[in-house]
């Protein structure tokens, strides 16, 4: 009898764990349902959905890079500034060739990410400090370049502003990210580093090298996202991409990403989190139309959603 009750208890525990993993998904569905009711179904109308999708792409792609950074236990506040600067570089080069422009933006992003990674790894400065500094630094460059007015992209770029095209690019990026995360050793290595860096080092992972690479890759991914950003907005001002970093962080946490990284990082965190974020971002103004109170309400709503969906169990493991 003891044996049986034990196995059912194990089953129950497994089921419980399974439910916990699904919590962010329930959160997302709950929010969609709640705001569908509150807005009288307005948010799920096609025109609103396409508006929402137009905002999803950049966030979704850039969040992928930060996902990797957070898995190893880091944070990145410079993403918005990287997006802004990479967008300017894309605009410049795109007048010669759009393909070259994309390559240049990716390289510029990678260089900025490598800059972050270098200071983080070489000088052992906590990543959020480094990236707060570079957030100002890259933003400063952006503003300096755009002193005489916004930097426009070539008109050919605007022709690419088609939903299917952006959707395709985003899909390809996500697919690539998913494949690398699941079918190479990278995912295992990064999770182990986040869970315990010393032990990971003693298991043959190379934390310093991988952390540097992760920052660089994250920069490169955001560089690519700047391509889609420019397609959407056409010309770049000094504040392009600002707030992206906080949007990404909130999105990932909403998606169930543990803030200290480690073994519980899951690829779907990115997608569910970004979608949840975008639904909230779009529906809140409809429900609370007074601009003065919107930020206030946003803050409270985010806090409630995170508190309800976050995996408290995994947070207890944090040292």
């Amino acid at each position: 009898m003891g044996k049986r009750s034990e196995t059912t208890a194990v089953e129950r525990q497994k089921r419980h764990k399974y439910l916990r993993d699904l919590m962010p998904l329930f959160g997302f569905l709950g929010i969609v349902l709640l705001f569908s009711i509150l807005t009288g179904g307005r948010i799920i109308r096609p025109e609103n959905l396409s508006l929402m999708f137009s905002q999803v792409y950049v966030l979704l792609i850039a969040a992928m890079g930060v996902f990797l950074i957070m898995t190893v236990g880091g944070l990145d506040f410079s993403q918005g500034s990287i997006l802004g600067l990479a967008s300017i570089i894309f605009c410049w080069v795109s007048s010669y060739s759009i393909v070259l422009g994309v390559i240049a933006a990716v390289l510029a992003g990678a260089a900025m990410g490598a800059f972050n990674g270098f200071f983080h790894v070489k000088f052992k400065i906590a990543s959020f400090i480094v990236t707060i500094c570079t957030m100002y630094f890259f933003r400063g460059l952006c503003k300096y370049i755009t002193t005489n007015g916004p930097v426009p992209a070539s008109t050919n770029v605007m022709m690419l502003n088609e939903t299917w095209f952006k959707l395709l690019l985003t899909g390809i990026m996500l697919f690539l990210g998913f494949m690398v995360w699941h079918f190479t050793r990278l995912g295992c290595d990064l999770r182990a580093i986040g869970a315990g860096e010393t032990a990971a080092r003693f298991s043959g992972s190379r934390p310093d090298l991988l952390k540097f690479l992760v920052f660089m890759v994250s920069g490169a991914i955001t560089g690519f996202a700047s391509f889609i950003n420019v397609i959407k907005v056409g010309s770049i001002t000094g504040t392009a991409g600002s707030q992206l970093e906080t949007q990404i962080l909130i999105a990932l946490v909403l998606g169930g990403m543990p803030i200290s990284g480690g073994a519980k990082a899951r690829f779907p965190n990115i997608i569910i989190g970004t979608l949840t974020y975008c639904v909230l971002e779009m529906s809140l103004p409809m429900v609370f139309p007074v601009p003065a109170t919107q930020q206030l309400v946003k803050g409270i709503v985010f806090l409630i959603v995170v508190a309800l969906t976050i995996d408290h169990e995994s947070l207890r493991v944090i040292k």
Binding site: E6, F183, T184, D189, A199, R201, R206, V317
Partner: protein, 498 residues
Amino acid sequence: MSDVILRSENLYKRFGITTAVEDVSLEFEKGEIHGLIGENGSGKSTFCSLLCGIYPISSGRFLLEGKELKARSQVEANHHGVSIIVQEVGTLPGLTVAENIFFGEEDKFMLGIIKNARAMNREAQRLLDSYGFKHIIASKMIDNYSFEDRKLIEIVKATYINPKIVVVDETTTALSQAGREELFSVMERVKNSGNTVIFISHDLDEVIDHTDRISILRDGRLIGTVKSSETSTGELKRLMVGRELTNRYYRTDYGQSVSDVVVLTVDNVSVPGEIKNISFCLHEGEILGIGGLSECGMHEVGKAIFGASYGRSGSVTLKDGYEVKSIHGAIRHSIAYASKDRDTESIVIADSIRDNICLPSLDDVSKHAILNNRKLDSFAQKYAELMSVKMTGIDQYVSNLSGGNKQKVVLSRWLGKNSDIFVLDSPTRGIDVKVKADIYALMSELKQKGKSIIMISEELQELLGMSDRILILKNGRINGEFIRNQSLGEKDLITKMV
């Protein structure tokens, strides 16, 4: 002297599905040292955690001097006169020695809202001196002191209040012989003042020598209580395990020749502040023991071979001429390493058994850099089962496992990696007799297969019992070498250690 001071009545503790302590009713007398023994996971540490308010009790109760003891935290237990010295580090870094000793008791040294640090330091120094730990300065930061000194500071912290019950949980594994003697004399002192010590240890000889009575736990249940003067290690082992242990604990072969093939050459290796000019060879199929006092540098030798030391000079070369310079390189060239600091260096605590077993072998399991998750699962399953790790499944987190099971996970990952050279630092530290026997059997098996092992250990019996050759370190240098030999005894090794 049957004056009962502490009694547990039908005590239960459940963690989810597992019952760690089951219906334990036990009496402790005034002025006795009471040993508590059992295998890993037998519930002895949990029992003491319940006593000290670290975990809440599921059902049952403790009676201290006839009154029910309900402590919700260690500090509360302390105020009731129960204190504990634990296995792992229990001091707080970044504070002074005095601040550590009086942690939670700062009120005594307050002048209004200002802390009187001088009075605190003076009082702490007086206490340290009275215990004979004069080399520890109360006003210095605790970080300046070694693991062993920090244990001594903990002993002072736990006993200066003159508690009615002192729990000593696995503390001796962290201490050298001299430190142990200090601890035993403190225990004697507590006993002579009419108070009670609950002493937990895996070292049965030590338990018999230093206790009045011994209680044995198995699978959370109390098996019995015996008088220390009327028992033997054999009887205790039998009671702990529940069956007669065969005497094939260590190797029994002598005089076997070791192959001439050198698989690893350590040449003139130094690590600043740790080891100096270490040179030796390791042969195929050889078990090389390395021993010494705990601060002699022997643990650094293992790290240096594994490429994990900072600022190492000299060279570590393998049979094929490869020179080890990094951990990554060492693993790729078939060196396995199990650290003494199991929880931070050997395994990723906050990760699953599966990931821990697979991590070093990811390149081997993948095909053209592509991983197959099902293959990883079966790989982990296979080696976890080979080492008979007690688990609910390979998804279980390592942090939930007992010390012996964690070590099994460590060993199974290296078996999976199929390494040729095993560097095992304190492989049986804090591990019960049954798992110990498993580990020794595994070492013999590896030796038969032609694998080479370096075993770094503070336990002389283990070195004598398992090694083909023993190196003794003193102050960071090799101070003696012994070949496996029936007449070799602990005394021979000790003369080279001190």
